[in-house]
Symmetry: C2
Subunit: 329 residues, 2 copies
Amino acid sequence: MRQVAARAGVAVSSVSRVLSKHPDVSPRMRDKVLTAVADLGYEPDLLAQSLRRGATLTIGFVVGDISNPLFSEIVLGAEVALQGAGYSLLVTNSRGMSEHDVEHIRLLNQRRVDGLLLSVSNERNTATIEELSRFHAPCVVIDRELPEAHGLGAVLSDHRTGIEQAVSHLAELGHRRIGFVGGSLDVRPTRARTQALLEACAASGVEAIPRCQSFTAEFGRTASRELLDLDDAPTAIIAGGNQILTGVLRTIRDRGLEVPGQLSLVTCDHLALAEFLQPPIATIDRDTFRMGRRAAEILLEMVRFGGDPRDLLPVTFAPGASCGPAPQR
Amino acid sequence: MRQVAARAGVAVSSVSRVLSKHPDVSPRMRDKVLTAVADLGYEPDLLAQSLRRGATLTIGFVVGDISNPLFSEIVLGAEVALQGAGYSLLVTNSRGMSEHDVEHIRLLNQRRVDGLLLSVSNERNTATIEELSRFHAPCVVIDRELPEAHGLGAVLSDHRTGIEQAVSHLAELGHRRIGFVGGSLDVRPTRARTQALLEACAASGVEAIPRCQSFTAEFGRTASRELLDLDDAPTAIIAGGNQILTGVLRTIRDRGLEVPGQLSLVTCDHLALAEFLQPPIATIDRDTFRMGRRAAEILLEMVRFGGDPRDLLPVTFAPGASCGPAPQR
């Protein structure tokens, strides 16, 4: 920095102000310093620099399970918003294991990211909540519920509306028993969808039969088998996740069931290639790119101004040929 | 550290050796120090610590485009190998833009990761190559070709074998013109597939008609349209990527083409839900989880012992009902 100051003909403190993006710097001073930096091939040591000024211009993103294609769009949306503000994004993947949520929050804390996006794999894990309470910077949860705390923002999905629309559509088609195969109840989406299903079905005089456990194709397959083996089997199934859908489709293929003739099918969240399935599958959908972008915008707002803003984003039901009149049994 | 030393009844230098995982530490000393650390709730400052000992126990992964579902399996494989060795993975996403490759390599360099996995979006970008030449730690490319350098390992896919098997299958079915819709020629997979296609077709007396530009559904759609509008249109198309396949399928749907009656179809790399398409699509496939795991294993080997190991992993063709006899025109 002394060499840069000498070359630019300014004080060392001015170089420091320019490099730390201090607001109180004239454009002329900025030009001088940055020209000297370029001339000298000066590479600021980000680590040492961050220790001094406490900002790293990076944001961490703790993803619960990156193998869910949902997250690639959320990451994309977050990056577009962050890049516009000069921030980089570091993503970690917990592979569905809460102990990795904890490790990654700790790692990103130690690495001094300026903020955290959170889509943890288990929001009820006490070690996760403890680790977050020690986090030094603002956090925004994406469709997760954590104990309310200062410096915790949220972007949530309005699952209720999407489920209500799907149940109402199925009830109009004469379905009286609707099965739901959901993922882990340790995250908000499954709880919100299940609760909405129970209430919407009760309001329509329809029986809701939820089976929730895990966001895997394997669980989707076994849970849908169990539902179809009930004496009063559901005539429609809602798959509560991408990998779950794959499992439900395998059961349908194994049993040679006709959709929608023998079973109506609805899924949650868009998936590539779904548009080419025959019949196309009715989908309870949301704009995941927008979720990522809003979460990043809220986080940047918190980095600058504090607070704990929350936003609820829409979920809508798009009917499809996979839903038809309930079969007479 | 002084408090830990006092509580454990050892020298400060012993605490430092234990926390930096120095090999020359007795199990008894290690126990004493770690017990004192736990008793005091001592949280080592990873940043300061890494400045002293030069290791962060983190690995960076520069992904060219995380929206390709291929990468979630590669990331998963890498994490399984890294976690076993006590390392965490930080992932960045370049969104297909080479300037972000450069930024992210620089960021991970400044953040002192102990090694880098690379699947850059453009391997011919000179700024990327320059930035890598300044990188302080070993790197492993995943199916990319970069100028050979000390400390650059590689995990490559044997695209040639997969393409040869597909071409041979199509030639046996009587196809005499095979179209290929490929992604960017700035990355190895597209070049290797195109080269293999040209040679395999020449050897079988078949005409190869490649169209390569971009890994997007939009390009897949327009390029497949153009191929089908040729006077001598191909009777079979190979889609060279996930999003490209979506575009080719849209063209097939737009034109109401029957697969395989009017057009045979092959795709590269497995995709969720592809198993449920009618007809199921013949696929040139590879074990992406294994690619990620091998890349991480090679990187850890380099971190410990140096060198620049390379590994070539298999690619195989799985026939499917989307390939049938060439139509007579």
